[in-house]
Symmetry: C2
Subunit: 173 residues, 2 copies
DNA sequence: ATTTACATGTAAGACGTTACATGATTCT
DNA sequence: AGAATCATGTAACGTCTTACATGTAAAT
């Protein structure tokens, strides 16, 4: 069901086509929250439309249909977000690899850690660039929630990066 | 394919039955790396046995079969762990919720954050208890890789907890 | 004796991946 | 004209969830 709410969430922030949704999944959403393929998005957004949770608000060139969230969709989204469901499902291939580091000898573990340190640094820098854009669009008003969420991503990759370096030090020492 | 390697990894650290594997998934592995159900584990461990990557090393009471990783299994596991595959898949319902916080009004966002702060603190404390056990089993020798991985979990929930508190402050201020 | 925990499994349906199919518009 | 990008979709196959079925051994 999560894909549903991921899509509703994106559309609640800004209307868009299936294609645009797929592009937005390549950003932060798909990178560290919930991954989805294009071929999964199109059928799901159609189901959302059939269920009245989104509606077509524009038809453009190349058969493009722009969807927007409906009041019913907004209500369902709110219910899901505020419903305190513990035991949330986690599937993270990257963390799984790190979690299984004890299966390797020290030399292999070192190599994986070096690779991880470089990868998390790259992600961190890419996010820094994206967040720069978000931040520049705000005046001196109240803190936009977007910035809080961007900060969560930054901290995540920073903590991963710092742990990788620390773990390498422990192995080398 | 990740479930395969999660199981191979657990069995490479210690032989065990399907039931024991399911129990071990309830710990750190399933909580913040890769989730799996009991009904998924039994068929997969049988497939691993059919493929010669694990083998039955003991049969106990109540039809219990204890599996151990084979050399072929160890080799496949090593290859997967050291193969630098970027674009790893992430599906994290908890992070998705946080990522969609901008869809809520401030009052609802605050409630979700308060809930999140409490949940991550609970996880942190639970992990602290588990790590205490792991740490007590080691003499003064070289740093066991298990401890590095435990530290990763601790840092993850700590950073989540700290971010939740920080985000609440930003909203309140 | 009854309950709890151990132990393994299957079947139906939902969800997700890979690969392919099709065509429109813009850019060079 | 040709290439790149925009745009939507389907079919086959693999993975995961939910719910059920079955029985054994230990604990109270």
């Amino acid at each position: 069901m999560s894909l549903r709410y991921a899509l509703l969430g994106l559309l609640s922030q800004e209307a868009g086509s299936g294609y645009q949704l797929a592009r937005r999944f390549e950003g932060g959403m798909g990178r560290y929250a919930w991954h989805a393929q294009q071929s999964q998005i199109y059928p799901e957004v159609n189901r959302l439309a059939a269920d009245g949770l989104v509606s077509v608000v524009d038809e453009g060139p190349r058969h493009r249909r722009t969807y927007a969230i409906t009041p019913a969709g907004r209500e369902q989204l709110r219910r899901w977000l505020t419903d305190p469901d513990d035991t949330p499902i986690v599937r993270n291939e990257q963390i799984l690899r790190l979690f299984l580091l004890p299966c390797l000898d020290r030399e292999d573990a070192r190599a994986v850690l070096r690779h991880q340190a470089a990868a998390s640094l790259r992600e961190l820098e890419a996010l820094h660039a994206t967040v720069g854009e978000v931040g520049s669009g705000t005046g001196g008003g109240p803190v936009p929630v977007d910035l809080l969420v961007a900060e969560l991503g930054l901290r995540y990759f920073q903590h991963l990066h710092e742990w990788s370096l620390w773990a390498l030090e422990q192995l080398d020492g």
